[in-house]
């Protein structure tokens, strides 16, 4: 965590993600759909592993419940 190129950027991001994920949950959207992890550009295997794991989490959740919304109801 302390290795951010921009010193504290990731800490700042983490705080916001903490709030947002709980707000999503409050609004009925699975908070697992949002994820923040820190992987350096030199850690390709970790990145791949992370993404694969994320996919494994996302697949059972299915498409976003908001996706069906695209056809707008007429006001």
């Amino acid at each position: 965590m302390s290795e951010c190129n921009y010193l504290y950027g990731n800490y700042c991001a983490e705080k916001r993600v903490t709030v947002l994920s709980q707000m999503l949950d409050f609004c009925g959207i699975e908070k697992d759909r949002l994820r923040a992890r820190w992987v350096s550009s030199a850690e390709a295997p970790e990145f791949v592993e992370e993404i694969n794991e994320f996919i494994d989490v996302l697949k059972p959740l299915g498409p976003s419940p908001l996706k069906k919304q695209t056809s707008k109801d007429v006001a």
Binding site: E3, N5, Y6, Y8, C12, A42, A44
Partner: protein
């Protein structure tokens, strides 16, 4: 309105260059198919696949296309932006296109490398990445680079071998140096060392360098002096030094941090008492004074290193242990020398050879297990020898503990003053381990020697020279030209809430009392975007990464 602004009113004409990177990219995905796809994207008027886009021929292609096809945006889909973006964007500039109208898509590290063996998927992802890059590029705006003046003077903090070497090399180039040493003598840790791993005497090496440094007219030496304050920014740092003759204020263009590290004193470890159980550095002293009376010596490696409190490997202690063992054995062949180790860290061919030579000289090596560490009792070291499965008792009259180098106790204060980061062990953290090993993330501040990580004298010296070349690359330019990827605050919409101010890690933002808005110092700004993320009214925006540009990119995903 200048030429640059006119581009904003033109329809985007985007050129896309897809790089095979030999087989690095083309070996794992279908570049021709990707290139065909790129042709179908909005505003793309020209697409070219190259074997190596970064080659002379590839660059010529880009330049030719900018002129011939009247391109006003260029997208290169290839490797790491970190290494190649400067080349491509400057090539665009040479062809008359503002370099900030260039966008890079990473289809190597982020695509071919991570999806090896999945050709179809990798091809599909490359298409998607390019679609995103193209979407972002359409909204790119030309930027003017920022220029500022340079003070051709360098502050070197620390008079050890790294700092001395940096000062020497910088002086050779004709720059003015202020060399600041905290103690009363130059030489740092090397003053305690007996003989170098390369064979020569540490004292001889040091006195040669120190004499040379002290004789230079363009190096001002300060001993018993401490850098009190640093402010300003690259090219124009303002510093205050507390010297024996009072406080000195000056301006320098760059700062070199060569504050070194200290050997761990192994209090409480393996019965350390400073007499029969001593540290490696104390052995160096004994060798220097030639007062070695022991007949059976046991070295214990990793004493206080790679433990819970100190997880890192200090890297040089294996080599120093072996070096000293060999010095002992050469001088007193009858002394029985044993080295108990966990793993031998003898990097490089020279040191690997040392290990073989040491064995040849009759030095015995034994592995110990950290879960079952050697025990030091009076006149005896017992350890579990895994190969025989037995507890071995070694009679000994001197135990030498190879302890790691640890960060100086004042390192956090230095880090805080200069606003540079340290790693989890407390050593100074460079901007990038591979790509910018001697730079700090903050421009104009550099690091060398053991303050960064335990280094041998040869390495510290090399790093000192390396730092000198990094500094020279900045200070020998006519003026400082800085990337225009910085944040800007719209004075019209800023409400002066100061939220960005507290979020700027580089202290680049100030509050203007009269106008009641926040303002950015573009030289100090590193373009991290913290302010842009914080600003409630998106008045702070990062050039080249504005919401509309990023959202276009996300929208295309």
């Amino acid at each position: 309105m200048n030429m640059n602004d006119l581009i904003l009113y033109e329809e985007p004409r985007i050129g896309v260059f897809v790089c095979d990177c030999g087989s690095n990219i083309a070996g794992h995905l279908d570049c021709a198919d990707v290139a065909e796809y790129a042709k179908t994207l909005p505003n793309v008027v020209y697409v070219k696949e190259n074997l190596y886009t970064c080659s002379e021929a590839g660059i010529v292609e880009i330049k030719k296309a900018i002129k011939g096809q009247n391109l006003n945006r260029v997208v290169v889909a290839s490797c790491s932006p970190r290494t190649h973006q400067p080349l491509f964007s400057s090539s665009c500039a040479e062809a008359g296109l503002n370099p900030y109208l260039f966008e890079m898509v990473n289809i190597r590290d982020q695509c071919s490398w991570v999806h090896m063996g999945k050709r179809d998927d990798a091809t599909q992802k490359a298409k998607e990445l390019i679609r995103m890059g193209v979407a972002k590029s359409a909204g790119l705006e030309p930027q003017e680079e920022i220029e500022s003046s340079l003070v051709r003077k360098v502050l070197v903090m620390g008079g050890g071998i790294a700092g001395l070497s940096a000062a020497q090399a910088l002086a050779d180039m004709g720059l003015d140096i202020m060399l600041v040493e905290k103690t009363s003598n130059f030489g740092g840790l090397l003053q305690q060392v007996h003989q170098l791993d390369t064979g020569g005497s540490a004292r001889a090496l040091l006195s040669k360098i120190i004499d040379d440094v002290q004789s230079r007219s363009n190096i001002t030496c300060y001993t018993k002096a401490i850098v009190k304050e640093t402010g300003g920014y690259i090219g124009n740092f303002e510093i205050k030094i507390d010297t024996q003759n009072g406080l000195i204020k000056d301006k320098v263009g760059c700062i070199v941090v060569a504050t070194g590290a200290v050997p761990l004193i192994p209090k409480g470890l393996f019965g350390y008492d400073g007499e029969t159980v001593i540290s490696l550095m104390e052995l160096e002293q004994k060798l220097k004074k030639d007062d070695l009376t022991a007949r059976r010596i046991v070295f214990i490696q990793c004493a206080g290193a790679r433990t819970k409190e100190r997880e890192y490997c200090s890297r040089i202690c294996c080599m120093i242990g072996v070096k000293n063992a060999m010095i002992v054995k050469e001088k007193y062949p009858l002394i029985d020398v044993r080295i108990l180790y966990r793993d031998m860290q003898m990097y490089g061919t020279h040191k690997e050879q040392m290990l073989w030579d040491a064995r040849g000289k009759g030095i015995q090596f034994d592995v110990y297990n950290p879960d079952n560490p050697p025990e030091v009792k009076e006149g005896k070291v017992s350890f579990f020898q895994s190969i025989t499965g037995k507890i071995i008792d070694l009679d000994t009259d001197l135990v030498v503990l190879s302890t790691p180098l640890v960060p100086r106790s004042d390192a956090p204060a230095v880090a805080n003053m200069m606003r540079v980061p340290t790693d989890q062990n407390g050593f100074f953290l460079e901007a990038h381990a591979k790509l910018r090993p001697l730079d700090f993330a903050a421009d104009g501040i550099f690091v060398c020697g053991s303050g960064r990580y335990p280094a041998t004298s040869t390495e510290a010296r090399t790093q000192g020279l390396g730092v000198a070349s990094r500094v020279a690359a900045i200070l020998f330019k006519d003026k400082l030209v800085k990337s225009a990827i910085v944040a800007k605050i719209n004075p019209e919409s800023c409400v002066g809430c100061k939220a960005c101010l507290t979020m700027c890690p580089y202290e680049a933002i100030t509050y203007n009392r009269d106008k009641r808005i926040c303002e950015i110092n573009e030289i100090l700004c590193k373009g991290c975007g913290n302010c842009a993320a914080t600003c409630p009214s998106h008045s702070a925006q990062l050039c080249g990464y504005k919401p509309e540009q990023l959202l276009a990119q996300i929208g295309a995903a």
